[in-house]
Symmetry: D3
Subunit: 308 residues, 6 copies
């Protein structure tokens, strides 16, 4: 099957490819395929084309650093080459390595994180994150008797996916409306969340409502953990940008609202690092205040790899 | 039209009479009518019957102090009488006075509260409260250019009633999902809420989600006001009880949930007084820490009235 | 010397009469004198004239509840009379009683408050309050070895008046710029402030900067006390109004500012009750959350006095 | 058995009479007995003698407002009499009434408070308070399945008395060292404490360590309740005094400490009202911010009673 | 003297070797000695034996990362060798280097930390830490006039060791019961603590009661410093584990408790990094949020050293 | 023009050279010039002379890490040389490189930081920082419609410089007294500050009043950003020192104060990292908790450069 950049961008845009990891994998693959088949004669032309493709893919969804990181590493790899052939080889190597790294990171986050689930824990989660549900299922398989509260997660009810997945796995699960988190928080031992992105100054970008739940957890001294591959740490924010927040259709909230009513429907919100307890990454359990450092570390590593 | 105690209790139970004030008015009227038509021969029998009726009405919905207060005042009035005739007169006088006091209090809360709405204010409200919507419409009529954020208020979407009422009145209104309150809170000047009840130690009992919004408002130093007639202050709590919280059908949250999934659906939550700014009552703008005192004051006044 | 209402209002407006107590005393006296010399024939006319005078005086400065309280009590007294003669007598009695009550309250606040100054205390104060300086001097006279930090209090440097008064009394005093309060706060045992007004929901209205100092004190767990006669509790706020905050000339801040620069110069700010420790009043040491109750209590007392 | 003032004062001083209620009852009885047997000829002499006796008794232990309140009421009663005979009658009536009121209050606090214990509650308490242990035993008798954490309460291990009393009553109880409160706090539903005194501005005076536990409870959003008869509200503090805090022997902490080591051993500490949830009194469940008001209310009631 | 692994493990277990540094030094030495005397023929056998020994030693006490770090470095060193001889050499070099590094770190922490003690400081400490007492004695020797509050530290009264050591050194010291920390905290300039371990997400593991004192310090804006060699940063936690917390005998709390009483006696508690001010390490004064980074940095360094 | 070390130190001392960057550039240049012209014969003598010069320059103002960092790097470079000639070359290279790095960092901070200014932002700043004013002017040139509040910044009114610069650039600016920050904070979107220094544990050292504003911003959940080149991170603090805080003349506060009045006039204060949102450095937008790490990273880099 041929990976066409425009087609992949469109699939991502129309939500036919979903989930940070899937989006990153298919975007990076599309860039790699296009590079391999490039007809550019000069290095300059090749890089120009590569940048154009990376830009198109990265604009398909704005809040996807795992995609952006993979694309940028490939462009950087090409820039370090001396001619078109070497550049093609670099892009191929970079995209392949990135895809592998991303998959391994996912597994490693679960391996590390499962240690933090204790027998008897009551865990609250918000929205649907495959990292979180797989982590909970892994703990359940190890025989840990956990109970889960999941919010319904308006407007798109992703909490129902979580609820189905966990009850199917045999984990005792209770659903609440999003507004009910504070009512149950004193009975919760751990809030466990996924992440869409982390900014260089340690802010978590995740499904709208996350920051309220984090505040409610802090008020009750309930520990909050976030499971997140470091590929979701966003280098754009290190360079100064605010994390872009996608705004979605009003129909998701109210199908037929009164005429003059405005509806504000942002997909994500921003949780400050002082409301988070720890972050489970493939590098280990760390503080959210390390994000900036890891981003700089990685930028140096990528440069070093291709400059040699 | 005849007011039958059982029928009224049933109407209240089946939500065919709604809103704290309406429930209180119809319940108190039913008690008064039944007393008028009582065939009891002795004072003892009359009071026994009255108490049974009051009990049936008050159990129709558990979180309704405005109803309970009216019923209890009438019972107390009867107890102070010397014979059945005097007792009937006392009940008639008490229920009539209470209904009048309740209606005047509603108007007075709006008259007082409208002063606190400033030209240009951005106001956030949760759920639907007729005290709040009337207060906002009064401010709008006075020419104050206000804007309102209203939450949709899951699971029953009462926020849509608020949204319709306010947009119909010409007030620029924006709806958000309940989870989005923290995202907009820094742009809000005043959170304005109604109340279902206040406990003697100053806790607000209101639609589930209220306490999260209050916490979010406190975090952003946004002032929170509650508009509430003092008839909703609950004497049961002064005597030690926790405010009973109604739990409602799981169908409200998810019509066809997976089999093993539990759903927890409480109608109200408890907001601690340190998260509230001020309470607009018919006695004036006060602190929530005055509730216990006002309850004791009123108990003394009722006793004094009928003991003379 | 004749007390003319217009003249007194003008003296107050031009700051030739200063200090909440002085303003109240001279305003109330002017109202009383005018009532005594009134030529009104009917009770209705007399009351109309009295209300006009009270209004003119109360508008001379907006943030002066001690004045407003005295004027309102006199108007209420007149309204309870049966004819002009009785009304005149009531106004005379009311204004005299109020002046006496105000003076006694001032002394009583110092008598009560001096108990709270401990030997060895380091006290921080802001702006100039004669209640505070007299309280500190009384403690010093009792042999308590206190030290005082006083802010300079921009823009009008009222802290210099405090500094002069305290050093003249032999109290070791250190001046700081307003911005330096947090630097010294860990060495302070008590923040002691006066008040311009208290709102019915317990907010302190005092010289701009007070609320920052209160926040800084709370952060360091330093106790904050406010010395304040209950005549400064503002009944306007019980009835719904926000406390009006006087805005003053930009020249106070910068004599010759650049052309397009705006300068915002409010005289007072609002400190929420949760940042205050206790209030020293002539009724005793109380919580700021009692203000609303005391206001209602007093309104009842005034009504009762004149209605008998 | 004869109640001699000096002897009673000495018994109190030497801790042979213990517990706020016992101390108050025996002190007030001693004052009443001495008044009955007084040989004073003039009212002036009688009152002088009465005041001297009251003073001696009240100085026997400094942190005992329940005692002081009873003594002061009797002195006030005497002052309202016209001659010695009437004064003796007043003192007799006042001391008897006070003793009865105190005993009823104790029972009423338990009756009211037991409503706040829920089936399944995990409760933490500090030190030993008979109000608290009786309240817990009453809840246990009602069939509520509670569990209790009790601190050992250094230096005098009063927690062991609590532990013995509760285990003897069949209540599952776990002891922890005082330092361990934060470790278990997330599993606690209610912190339940007694009180030695309340100040007019709402501060709780209780066994040293109380304020740390209250802070730890607030951090974990665990509700804190205090069970306390209003006779322990201290009128001295309304009049300006800080609550006096007894300092006890260093031997209680370390029998044979190194020579130059100082040991600081205060019996009580001060918990600010914002760390308390509610207070269970014989007047009902109230906020700690009502203490000042109740003190003024009672002073008025006492005056009114004897002035008639 | 021969270092036998089993014997050393047993000495550690029976608390005959105490203090994180001593335990680490003797454990690492025992591992080195056993390696030197190993009779293993193949590299595989040698490593197997080494791992078994390391495991036995590390299980002797669960909360000892300084020991675990030294053992793990030695195992890693062996794994990088090509044959048994080289492996023996690597283990010898690694254990020797680690012991030296640990000792130097101890001295360096004191050299760095002594700068943070100011003339006139009032310092509060909890339990007994030789790093802390040596730091305080060093400051005292430099002529800094410090005063110290030390808690008695129930249940084992280690505060008495601290008190003896400091008074013997001539430092004015005051002992308090653990519950009294909040009473004196406003007079404290610096809370200075040792550490048993730090987790990768920045939590301090130290003697039970530490987290309460840290909370009390935060409430009073008193700076909290922790003196800790980075060898106590626990790599187990980076890999997901919670820090294991040793539970100790109930006899330590109450020698002869009533039969049904449970006693919960954990040796340590967990203090979140937001309650700490700074950490004095041999690398300098740092934030607790750097722990994860330093752990990863060190793992990389160890790998690099032996892989070359 | 000749750069004489003594003369440069004196110019810095007398504030004739101002601003952290200018001071650093002129100090480092003076050290470089002196090294070039040195007549030392041996490496030892050369280094001794260099150290003496660096010491004199660094003492000219105590709170200037950007200067200290440049001087120390040059001394370190010299120490790595084998003879006088190489040492001179190293010093020349080091000082030149440092000056260039510092200038580029300044530009880069503005390039990065301008992304964080949003169209419509209301920004509050304190004192005068050329990094901040240039950043605001850059945002204004990009067409972002910003409004600025600036404090007057007592005692030296540096806010007036800010006000002039911004109004001259056409940015709508409102001045307030320092005490007024809390009054306007709820209308502020971003507090933007410069820095005089950062300590290794993440504390910001900046103009007195900064920490109060930061506290006020936190209370209102207003984001606080600090723009700061990493050369201002202070390695002295990593080695244990507290950041030295310059105390300035009392005349700045009050020209002719009363005789016995003390005036305390520190130039800077200390803001804890938990009150800061993010730091804009030339390395990107980071958390203040990364300062210690970056300091260690840089020390390693400098060592590595010259040791090769």
């Amino acid at each position: 099957m041929v990976h066409d950049v425009e087609r992949t961008a469109s699939l991502i845009q129309r939500l036919e490819v979903q989930g940070a990891r899937n989006i990153a994998l298919s975007g990076v693959k599309a860039l790699g395929d296009a590079a391999r088949k490039s007809k550019a004669k000069t290095l300059k032309d090749f890089i120009k084309e590569l940048e154009r493709n990376a830009d198109m893919l990265s604009k398909a969804r704005v809040t996807e650093p795992a995609l952006r990181n993979g694309l940028e590493e490939a462009v950087l790899a090409a820039r370090c080459a001396g001619d078109v052939r070497a550049a093609k080889a670099n892009v191929a190597a970079s995209t392949k390595e990135y895809a592998g790294r991303l998959s391994k990171a996912f597994d490693r986050v679960i391996d590390i994180g499962v240690h933090r689930i204790r027998d008897g824990d009551v865990i609250l989660t918000h929205c649907h994150s495959s990292t979180v549900t797989n982590l909970l299922k892994a703990a359940h398989k190890q025989g840990k008797r956990i109970k889960v509260f999941c919010t319904e997660t308006r407007p798109k009810y992703q909490g129902r996916i979580t609820a189905k997945e966990l009850t199917a796995a045999g984990i005792p699960t209770t659903m609440i409306v999003d507004s009910c988190a504070r009512t149950v928080m004193n009975d919760v031992d751990l809030v466990l969340l996924g992440a869409d992105a982390f900014t260089s100054d340690g802010f978590l970008v995740n499904k709208v409502g996350t920051s309220q739940i984090a505040l409610v957890a802090k008020e009750a001294r309930t520990m909050l953990a976030c499971a997140c591959e470091t590929m979701k740490f966003d280098p754009l924010t290190l360079a100064g940008s605010w994390e872009p927040i996608e705004e979605r259709s009003v129909k998701e909230v109210w199908d037929k609202p009164p005429k003059k009513l405005k509806i504000f429907n942002p997909a994500f919100d921003l949780t400050p690092p002082h409301l988070l307890g720890f972050v489970i990454t493939e590098l280990g359990v760390i503080s959210p205040f390390e994000v900036g450092h890891i981003l700089r570390e990685r930028q140096d590593a990528v440069k070093k790899r291709w400059e040699q």
